[in-house]
Subunit: 389 residues, 2 copies
């Protein structure tokens, strides 16, 4: 186990009606002028946006709204949000939506108190330590941004999709999680969310750091819960209990508890970010294609932890690490397929991907050698992309 | 899954040399005049106390010391600490030790800003919401107080041992966890700590709340890690990695992550508190005696979750819940015995316990009917105590 620091101060309010606590939670931490960030029309049509803003207003909080966040959120709306906040003296943000909305709110929160370009933080020019406080009303269990200190934004100029990770600056102060709000998620989006949260755990799990039994066991536990509950939400989208298990799993998958004390990997996320930046596919769907390909490569070259995953998470019984690792890949592919997710580029709707460009941009963004579990160069990542064909 | 709130804002610094960060962490949150609370002489003799106070002083922080905390800590030292803090204008506390030291520091932190008797909070007369900030340098992985919002204090007048639970008021602001500091723990104390952390998980796990798969799986994961790592620390007390796994497990066992969304039990803790209040035994040793007895009673009367525990944690294979539950009890007893822990009153050094008094005080303190998994009255708790003979 490696040395680590761990701090997850977000206050979670979980259960039916949680969204109605927005005003109370906001007032409790002194929010006074809030920018409410949301996505498309669903939050408006469902009445959720009005519920949240009413709750804020009833608590004596002034509300300004900024809608229009799209999946794979871009910098242009961040700049617009920063302008609004400065112009109107906004002191805090409330995100009503999923990862894209939350990540946009986080980037705005970071940009407002900073004199320069907010992209400086994403470009790694300086550490992100100060941001306006953020609250979240979660509608999509997937990105885990409601509990993480991360934000992923795409720069439209060059379509660079970059993930910024902070210890606490970007962790929401509070997050309201009502599983009922996820009943209307379409099956494909539900499945993409499940792939995303599983990937968040697996990026942490596939590590060469020895002696991390406690962290491995917690990660395996969350994965097993997801694998058990996912078919239930697919079969019955209004199954409150299954939705609740999936929703809380998505938070635990990415708040850091599954990664304490070890070097993490994150290659598959990096490889997927290039795919979604170039082809605009859903992040979770891209992960369902890339992650098994990455695992298949590792089953050939470094199977130990892939085999452990297969045995402990999917009950694979083979004694040979190499065989068990390949069986683990098959199990994961079968599981993703059972949820209606793509597991090849073709199924993803990208029958003829420009692998040369994906590899080139990946290493431009992440460096010549990437990966925590095994160091990969362009020839390796090209092979992994090819395994996903 | 039931509605819940969850907030664990403690900042953990984990690893070799963590104790040297005391000054930095204290200064970061504005601590200026600190009361350092510790136990017996071991923190002095090992040089740990000096390392911590030096670190604080180097960070410009004024230090006052209060030693002498005993296991099963009592109110008298709390009153003394409160007096010192008021007299010297102390603004914060740093606990150097295990659960008893931390719980004493927490009770002092609660008492200083309150005009009345700090015991009012433990007696349930009013909710505990305001306390001085606390930092922790942990030396005993057991009570989990470094991450919990709880404090357990015994009132010397009447020997009432009461646990106070707060959502965040008593959670430490920071906790420094260096596994090396636990190398010198005697085997019996190490084992008692392991029993205590397992009990913290099991009190949460044994619940009738349905559909808590995610919380069950996390709890099972932490239990499995403890069961795997415990024999390693018993065999080799200076095994850093095993000590590290046990130390972090002890924190996760009691910071709430193993209990989200369900009604908890806590009968065994209540029953043990009467034993340690009356006979002064180590809390963990008392739990090793009481918990299997409680489980054995439940195996007869309500075996479902006990059976699940047996199957998932110890790999019990019986299809009958009743049989599997009793096998689970045997597995746990065998595990505790293998660590050198007592599993009967006689082995605990109390060959002829005054069960009538234990039962009477238990229900005086906790009410006529107790327990979350199954409601128990005096006849039931008497039978459970008897099963531990």
């Amino acid at each position: 186990m490696e040395n680590f620091t761990y701090c997850t101060p977000t206050r979670y309010v979980f259960g039916r009606g949680a969204e109605l606590k927005a005003g109370e939670e906001a007032a409790d931490i002194g929010m006074k002028k809030v920018l409410v960030v949301y996505g498309g029309g669903s939050a408006v049509r469902s009445g959720l946006l009005k519920k949240v803003t009413d709750s804020l207003i009833e608590a004596g909080i002034a509300v300004t709204e900024l809608g229009g966040v799209q999946p794979n959120p871009v910098d242009t709306l961040v700049y617009e949000g920063i302008d609004i906040c400065r112009r109107e003296g906004i002191d805090s943000l409330v995100a009503v939506g999923g990862g894209s909305v939350i990540d946009t709110a986080k980037a705005i929160a970071l940009g407002v108190p900073y004199e320069g370009d907010f992209w400086d933080f994403f470009a790694g020019k300086l550490p992100a330590t100060v941001a306006l406080p953020i609250g979240v009303v979660l509608t999509i269990p997937a990105a885990g941004s409601e509990g993480s200190g991360n934000s992923v934004i795409t720069k439209t100029d060059g379509m660079r999709k970059i993930s910024l990770r902070t210890e606490t600056a970007l962790r929401p102060k509070w997050a309201l999680l009502n599983p009922e709000l996820t009943f209307t998620l379409p099956p494909f989006q539900t499945a993409c969310g499940i792939a995303d949260m599983m990937a968040h755990i697996m990026e942490r799990y596939f590590s060469t750091t020895p002696d991390v039994e406690i962290t491995d066991r917690v990660a395996e536990g969350v994965l097993k819960a997801i694998i058990e509950e996912a078919p239930k939400v697919m079969a019955d989208p209004c199954n409150y209990q299954a939705r609740a298990n999936i929703m809380w799993s998505g938070t635990l998958a990415h708040n850091g508890i599954c990664g304490t004390g070890r070097r993490e990997d994150w290659t598959s996320h990096g490889m997927e970010h290039e795919i979604s930046a170039l082809y605009g596919v859903a992040h979770g769907a891209g992960l369902a294609v890339v992650f098994p390909a990455w695992m298949s490569y590792m089953a050939d070259h470094q199977p130990e932890k892939i085999a452990q995953y297969g045995r402990r998470v999917f009950g694979v019984e083979s004694h040979s690490d190499s065989v068990a690792a390949h069986e683990a890949v098959d199990c994961l592919k079968g599981f993703f397929s059972s949820l209606g997710l793509p597991i090849t580029f073709a199924e993803l709707g990208v029958p003829d991907p420009d692998i040369a460009t994906l590899v080139k941009k990946l290493h431009e963004n992440k460096g010549e050698a990437i990966g925590g579990y095994r160091t990969l160069k362009a020839a390796d990542t090209e092979e992994i992309y090819r395994r996903a064909l």
